[in-house]
Symmetry: C2
Subunit: 493 residues, 2 copies
């Protein structure tokens, strides 16, 4: 009691002061950052999980997090070969164990030879381990039918996000009407909007065409660019292929048109090209299309192409592996990029090792080949089945429509929301699809992200849902979600 | 020939254009970034290594990279227990192997239970795995003699650098005379200067006192702050303890004085407190001293304390593990920090797992305890011996002086450079100590970083050298370096 009074009087004597760092006084650009994929709805999902653990009664027994493309969290098992080699790298004492296949041991030894002190615990050079950059370059060459790739143009990164932010940082300059503008698709993955807000660049929206399966239309690029030139200096164009959150895969014709547009309008191209499983569509890399277009494009159009180990059949999100290949980048700028990367020392070395295995998987003559292929194909086949199921169930539900999910782990269905639900949301100060998603979460435990977090045409409503839960669970989830939508529609009609 | 001519004429027709992204047009803040630890001297070291491999004759047979605190690259072996548990986490099939101690298995199972899908391959929440945040909080409590730590104030990060950049980002605001100023020590670790340049904040230098073993003097803080207030708005004070590059450990009295200064001058405190081996000095955390000072300091002074798994006895740089504990941070600002972290999804999960083991090592009753302790003590004892040897050899060399290396992996010796060497450097457009370090590298293969990369008093010259090479190699290196300095001095006298 005495001490508490003492504390209080002392606080009064010294004055209980405002914080040095307050919401009002902090970096205004950081305040403007929004990131829906891990926003309030995910916070609420975490709370609900905690309440379930504490025995609070809910109308569901588990929270299903379909908000983020996190395959292993959804029960996908890691690919055996990848984890065997990594375990050998982490603990080289295991190299003498008879329980690992020979090719896994050879691969681990090869990676360790390329590490400082032959250990994953040493820093690498900032651009990533040289051997792995070379392996990535050879992988790109195979992917692109032999078009050369230079390891010196490959930079390893902490997931793809890290490299995307680095390249955007290089591009930002100017003030007022000369501020850098960057064209991004709407809907987009909110890393782009968040980074542009933080860097103080101008976000220039171009809309994907939902009526034509989220196609990228060059006329729309022209419209967006023309309007943007009134108030900023557009310098870059971002393309996400396959689309995130929209899941479509771009045609070769579309990619050619985009490259021609970027060249004519003098825009640096950023292509976010996460690996695909390609259900009923073929994946074309921007690099390959660019090189095949020949002069003047091939030798001049500046391009950065981003990849991560989080997507694709391996789904190794936690390791934060990734890389960027730059094409036709000014040599001095490339030196500046390397300098910027070096301030953070290096990407996580276990993630680099994992990337190496992804870009150079077992060869047909290797002991691990058969199992590796079987595991990989099983994942890809299941993803294709899930994509199809998602499209099918949603399109059968009244008031929900869903474009084909071609090559990503996401679907971005459109939902009709009754006018009274929209009004109710506005009363609550919520975006209408946020209101829908919050109610969905509270009543069913299904966690998806409202379309407003990715951007959408005014008056349309969507949500992003991953297709990653195991097939039978996904079916239940899709049906539950469709039923909830019907009930919600009825409630507000 | 025809095609080459065709290319050329087409290039002419379309005009061979300037790049969209050029050195002149790129982000001017990024251009201003400097990062000596991986700068031109390290590039040259890489080239020399390549030349040696190609059989080019050099006056040395290997490049010794004493430029960066990378223990395992210098031959330090990883701690067995850490790598056993990590291998089990990476490849849980090993949990049934008889070749791992029971406590390692239990620890791996405990970590995997806390991971999404029980896999290191799932994303964690953006602040890091909750169980690990709790373990870190308990570790901080033990470190600080029972002073409470709240897991909700602990955020895991990608090395310490990541969290330092994040907190600095929050603090940056204003334009012109109201721009945020941040006080940093000189010499400093160049992450600070690089980040402030990139963020457009004002770097406010306070000088450490080389004559008093790099002591931090509050009178000097007052001088720096007073001058800075003319042209910016100082909002934060960074302290590195133990010093980097300077290696000193701060006394408790000094920390108290710094806290009082920050409180009175309304500065947010950033304490970069990498683990120490404490040779002849005791480590005090800023948090503990702050809490023991009582009101008004304890309940009000804002503090962020940064740590990494790269330093200390484990030296696990490649895993990029780290954390920050925030104290008295405004709750709304803390939410904003979490939002900012969430844009990058999560720190690498293997690094999080490693951090968990570092903050909760084997207990005395655990099967792994004896070996763990023996390995840890051997590393610490060798570090202490290396610190002593470094100080001793350098102080015996004419023209070199070196303060005691108390608790870091670095020494920052001062070298006398003859006036003619300084003139020669100026002719070459080089900082004099850069000239010295480049010559040292070319003639001996020893790679150290010039003091000008960290900052130093005008007219003084230093270099940063890690003390990490194995003891006998370090002895040779120190003697070789001292002899080179004598020869260099003679040459330019």
């Amino acid at each position: 009691m005495a001490s508490s009074t003492g504390d209080r009087s002392q606080a009064v004597r010294h004055g209980l002061r405002a914080k040095v760092l307050t919401l009002d006084g902090m970096n205004p650009r950081v305040r403007r950052v929004e990131y829906a994929v891990r926003g309030p709805i995910v916070q609420r999902a975490l709370e609900l999980e905690q309440e379930l653990r504490q025995g609070v009664k809910k109308p569901f027994t588990e929270v299903i997090r379909a908000n983020i493309g996190d395959a292993q969290a959804m029960g996908q098992r890691p690919i055996t070969f990848l984890r065997q080699v990594l375990a050998l790298c982490v603990n080289p004492d295991l190299l003498s164990s008879p329980n690992f296949p020979d090719d896994a041991k050879k691969r681990a030894e090869r990676i360790l030879q390329a590490c400082g002190g032959h250990s994953l615990g040493a820093y690498s050079v900032s651009s990533g381990i040289q051997l792995i950059r070379e392996d990535v370059a050879r992988y790109i060459e195979r992917r692109d039918g032999g078009i050369p790739a230079d390891p010196n143009n490959v930079f390893l990164s902490t997931g793809a996000s890290d490299a995307i932010v680095t390249v955007l940082k290089l591009l930002v300059a100017g003030e007022g009407h000369t501020r850098t503008g960057v064209l991004i698709p709407i809907p987009q993955y909110p890393l782009y909007s968040a980074t542009l807000a933080e860097l103080g660049a101008v976000q220039v929206d171009y809309y994907l065409d939902e009526e034509r399966a989220w196609a990228l239309d060059v006329a729309e690029l022209h419209r967006a660019l023309g309007q943007a030139r009134d108030h900023c200096r557009p310098r870059a164009l971002c393309v996400i292929n396959p689309g995130n959150p929209t899941g479509q895969v771009q045609t070769r014709e579309c990619i050619e048109a985009v490259i021609r547009f970027a060249f004519e309008e003098r825009l640096f191209l950023l292509a976010d090209e996460d690996n695909v499983y390609a259900a009923g569509s073929q994946f074309h890399s921007f690099k390959k299309v660019l090189m095949e277009m020949g002069p003047p494009y091939a030798g001049q159009q500046e391009l950065a192409s981003f990849h991560s180990t989080s997507k694709g059949y391996m789904g190794e999100c936690g390791f934060r592996g990734g890389y960027v290949e730059v094409v036709n980048m000014d040599a001095a700028v490339q030196q500046q990029m390397l300098k910027l990367m070096s301030v953070r020392l290096c990407p996580p070395v276990p993630g680099q090792a994992l990337l190496d295995l992804v870009v150079s998987p077992p060869a047909p003559t290797d002991p691990s080949f058969a199992q590796f292929q079987a595991e990989k194909q099983a994942v890809l086949a299941e993803l294709a089945a899930k994509a199809k199921l998602t499209e099918q169930v949603f399109n059968e539900a009244p008031g929900i429509s869903c474009n084909p999910v071609q090559g990503a782990m996401y679907s971005f269905p459109r939902v009709q929301l009754p006018p009274r639900a929209v009004e109710r949301a506005q009363e609550l100060g919520l975006a209408p699809d946020m209101f829908f998603c919050l109610r969905l979460l509270e009543e069913t435990g299904i966690c998806v992200v409202p379309g407003s977090g990715f951007g959408q045409r005014e008056g349309t409503y969507h949500f992003r849902m991953t297709i990653l839960p195991p097939l039978e669970k996904l079916r239940l989830l899709l049906e539950k979600l469709s039923r909830f939508h019907a009930k919600f529609t009825l409630e507000y009609s």
